[in-house]
Symmetry: C2
Subunit: 161 residues, 2 copies
């Protein structure tokens, strides 16, 4: 299914050029020590992350509000194509335990573009209401800021190399 | 996660000895020409089945009521361990398109037992309400009858061999 076949009103998309090589952008998404540096838009923070990056593997990312409140986000990976594609969802907390509220499925693709990366995040929902709510929660701003932080983190790795 | 860790009130289970070899019981679940023979408890029928049996592959089973009304059931496979384990859900219509209503996830396991098969179907739901509704729709009777039909079909294959 191409993106255009899926109902647009249940989908949110970020499509960006990221000024860092594809393998480093991929590492930022799949190495928990890197993910905590960029995943949550400031002033929120990512308190911890553990990730078993394989189809059926679990992930747990704990976000922290400016007031210090913790928000655990359990999920699993549905598809992992090394360096190219990463699909995850909160519909399961592990393989195969349905969560209490399936909210979203993220489909990330990474492609070479010049010296950098074409980074595309397609976020799909089970209902139009959830998609709308996600947008109103500040999806574009939040994922936009997070992607800035992702780019910065990936660039710092390139500088270290 | 073992079954006992998952909330029992969101889970329905069929655990049966099936008097046919494991590879034949597996074939009945994974060959569309066989599945149509047993999948839907009489007097309902299975009108057609198409199945791409691999993780991320789609399936479409069309059931037919005694009045001739057709009920298409799209879903996907989440995990396939040849001859041993089959996991599927209606939460996606294909990889990775969330359906309009995620209702259930089926986790089937097949194990040798004597000359037959220990067949276990664990069906999990996202909500207690859905699990209850599924039970009230006649889950145990329906899956029980379907399992009788499955056994009969698998046995007929053994007789042919």
């Amino acid at each position: 299914m191409t993106t255009s076949d899926f109902p647009a009103e249940r989908e949110l998309v970020i499509d960006r050029y990221v000024d860092a090589p594809r393998d480093l952008v991929w590492r930022c998404w799949t190495d928990p020590e890197l993910l905590v540096k960029w995943f949550t838009p400031a002033p929120w923070k990512t308190r911890s992350a553990s990730m078993d990056v394989r189809a059926g593997g679990s992930s747990m990312v704990v976000m922290e509000s400016p007031e210090g409140e913790l928000f655990p986000n359990p999920g699993i990976y549905l598809e992992v194509v090394e360096g190219e594609k990463l699909v995850f969802t909160d519909a399961y907390t592990e393989a195969w335990a349905p969560s209490e509220k399936p909210f979203m499925t993220g489909i990330l693709t990474f492609a070479d573009e010049g010296k950098g990366t074409r980074y595309r995040a397609v976020v799909r929902h089970w209902s139009v209401e959830d998609s709308k709510r996600h947008e109103e929660m500040g999806f574009h701003d939040g994922w936009g800021k997070a992607t800035d932080q992702l780019e910065e983190t990936a660039k710092s790795l390139a500088a270290d190399a």
